[in-house]
Symmetry: C2
Subunit: 592 residues, 2 copies
Amino acid sequence: MLRTHTCGQLRKTDVGTEVTLCGWVESKRDHGGAVFIDLRDRYGLTQVVVGPPEADAAMIDQAGRVSTESVILIRGNVADRLEGKTNKKLPTGDIEVRSVHFEILNTCETPPFTPSQSDLPGEDLRLKYRFLDLRRPEMLRAMVLRSSIVKAMRDYFAEHDFIDVETPILGRSTPEGARDYLVPSRVHPSKFYALPQSPQLYKQILMVAGFDRYIQVARCFRDEDLRADRQPEFTQLDLEMSFVDSDDVIGLIDGLVAKTAKEILGKEVQLPLPRITYEEAMRRFGHDAPDLRFDMEIVDITSVAAKTEFRVFRGTADAGNFVRGIPVKNAATKYSRRQIDELTEYVKNDFGAKGLAWFRVEDDGTLWSPISKNLEPEHLEEIKTLMAGEPGDLLMFLADTWETTCKGLSGLRRRLASELGLIDPEALNCSWVTEFPMFDKDEETGSWNAMHHPFTAPLASDLELLKDDPSKCRAQAYDLVINGSEAGGGTIRIHDPATQSVVFDLLGIDAETAEDRFGFLLNALKYGAPPHGGIALGIDRWVMLFAGLDNIREVIAFPKTQKAADLMTEAPGGVDKAQLEELFLRTAKVPK
Amino acid sequence: MLRTHTCGQLRKTDVGTEVTLCGWVESKRDHGGAVFIDLRDRYGLTQVVVGPPEADAAMIDQAGRVSTESVILIRGNVADRLEGKTNKKLPTGDIEVRSVHFEILNTCETPPFTPSQSDLPGEDLRLKYRFLDLRRPEMLRAMVLRSSIVKAMRDYFAEHDFIDVETPILGRSTPEGARDYLVPSRVHPSKFYALPQSPQLYKQILMVAGFDRYIQVARCFRDEDLRADRQPEFTQLDLEMSFVDSDDVIGLIDGLVAKTAKEILGKEVQLPLPRITYEEAMRRFGHDAPDLRFDMEIVDITSVAAKTEFRVFRGTADAGNFVRGIPVKNAATKYSRRQIDELTEYVKNDFGAKGLAWFRVEDDGTLWSPISKNLEPEHLEEIKTLMAGEPGDLLMFLADTWETTCKGLSGLRRRLASELGLIDPEALNCSWVTEFPMFDKDEETGSWNAMHHPFTAPLASDLELLKDDPSKCRAQAYDLVINGSEAGGGTIRIHDPATQSVVFDLLGIDAETAEDRFGFLLNALKYGAPPHGGIALGIDRWVMLFAGLDNIREVIAFPKTQKAADLMTEAPGGVDKAQLEELFLRTAKVPK
């Protein structure tokens, strides 16, 4: 190595040693005829002094002219810092290195921003100059954290006898869910590979092959219209096990959560992680990935609403819909009428709610609201009791369909918790949501869609419902929720051809379509498929949650923008005509 | 878990325990009113007995009818096998499980082949039914070995402070070397991503970002005309380090080789691994990845040839070409005239040699050959001395250009060693070849090509040669060779813009082309690039060598054929017209 030590390594005990350091010039100042440089590398920061008597005038001059972020090599002696000049915040803050040899390894042109500047430039500039952005300690920390989390996961699964198997990236297009990225084949003109949306079919094949326990940190691809937290390519920890039920997979991942929380964050997680059913999650929190870091549970007051003369409440109840609300503790004085109007606009615009009803619990225990005059005192009292309302609380209600009350109240819950500071930023709250419905109905066409994927097994107890009432049929499906975000999801798969056939029928997948889409899996299932199931964990999401960040691009070294572009490499780019000719492809006219 | 134990777990100490096993019916036989089943899973084989008194007639009947490779679950009691019926070869061979409950979890249709059959079907059938093929113990062993090797590598680099960073799969086309796989962009019509041939540019960017030590097990893609040992997608262990020279990278990988050899194969490897220069490798073995598991080194006898009157030898020497040979110890009686004729055809057809000269060392120490009459006895004696020939040896020579003698003799060396059984199948012979030439000349156009890639740094001592005689300029490049195969290769990179510019000039890469191809890297190098270098190890190749296999497809779970097709999934496949329309693409007519 060109260096003898890193910039994070030297301590008081090294005083007197001659060392060689390499790194970047983080900052530089002249003081008393000497040049003081904060020299940075991945491991830390060391103060270097280029001054008399060790350095001659030429060296001091050269050091004085070196630009910030240039790469230098210095040889020198470790010395105590002068009294009063030590820096207790820095592990190397007791010492400095007095340079006897100074060498510029590479000069840095004036950068558009520096890693140490306090005001962060716009994200586009950061992405274009990602090599500078990645020098920022926050980015380095996130990438090291990512590396450590994935390592801890791999170690865990290796201890549990999982085989790490690489499945193909150049696969076959199986149109379902999102759009595939296609790769034209040169050897087979007019044919295309597809990049995998997940290794789902391959991992099931591996179970048929008897691999018993498979794991992979797999790159997945979806050509979706991009939302803030989606990337065209993302990474999932993908696993599959044979001869298991939901409890086995959940128990295994419980152990993983506890291990990584402990090793990476130094946090103790109580096991088993809490489990609630999908039905309960929707009823209590209006969301299938409920944020359990705070209370504010949803309460159904439809039974009271049905008794009132208030048109909005009564009409909703009569139509078979719901009046549900959340108690916002001690918030009555924290939200002005104008702020409540803003919340009303929020539930209208974002969730299509018809409005927002609210009550303040007054000091005397009565409910007050612009609509309270429409309600009998005993009904108001009943509402207060159901909501466990206490003086100073704000009670908020939606009167709407089940879906709209769920979405609206869940949205309100999260927004209010954030605004009221109810969320402990240090919390790591993990839980499971289980027993998802097998299907959801496309209201327009009346057809059934698979809520997970078409290979998901129904609960054994719900097998009959497949025929009688598919809407009530629950799946052997489970989602891991961390801090109100889905951090993973899995299912036990159907391994029995008869059940698979009923599910395909329900989904409107006829034999030909099934054969075309996943014929090779259906074929494999005929040759001795074990009962099996698995899960996929979103690595990008995990790292984001563990790092306490809220932008997925902060935990990916070279992310793409929301328009799926890489600003640093300018991908996607144009290609030579000859390249397309070799693929027997032509670009069609793009409508303006 | 549905099972209490695996099929590899039960021992004599478990006798009397009630257990539940799941697995595949490997084989089945009726004996004395009972059905004996060899039940298999990933972990082993256990004998299950379905017979009286534990099993009733119905259960015995069911067991008797279950098809091979079906998946069953049995509950039963572990019992000693009858005396004389134990199987010492099987870890579970002392016991059997007497079934009290027998359940077919899934039936297997008649398979095209069974994992236990001794005659392997053709590779196409194996690939089409990969889920059956992967049940073969050899395949499972190879995949477990692969998983273990990669795990050991990751652990090693984690111990050495490397950060595992994922670089994009959807990248930018940088035409150089092999053909890119392209991915049309839907969001940016007429633009394309390219799948990476290697993460080369990204890993250099990470060094500029100060990551210091980067590692990734990276999927790479090359749309090449496929040879026997190439796959469209392959995996490499990719790493890069800052502030290092060749010795640092080589030393690090030395440690990796020793660790994996010890942990995976239980073999001690002496460190440091031997290093020879490219020049020496070509001189002694005619190949830049010499097989050092046996001797048979090349000897140059041009100086003698030049003195003879034998037209072929003399003419070669006079033309500035070479007469070089290999001594084949104790082979004089092992190769008949007809066999030597076959070797002659081999060097002619495969390497373009003009012919093969040979001598037998007779019992009296003289050389005999059809051409020996053309040579003076003292010249024959000189040749024998140079070749250290002893009675019974066969000496073989090519008289040709340097390149042809290298290729031909290297080919002969390997073929003869294999035919003569000189290669220890247990050997793991690792070494380095260093100081590769920077460039090789395209003889047709007279232009220079980069032997590694255009960012490779020259030896500091050869910097002047860049201008004076590029053909003599050596690179800071190093290849790891295992058992005569290149198992990895790397270089120290140019970090200095002036040297980079000279190299680009030599390679005929003008400023515009450079900007177009790797502008973002050149840009990054301006902002404080540290000296850096790295290496890439071919994981598929490593696993193949460690497993003692010679077909790369045996160490890949789902490989593609030489026509880049996946026979199981039938990828690449056709896609909907709508999918192409969304991409603004049309397929052009394919000429018949």
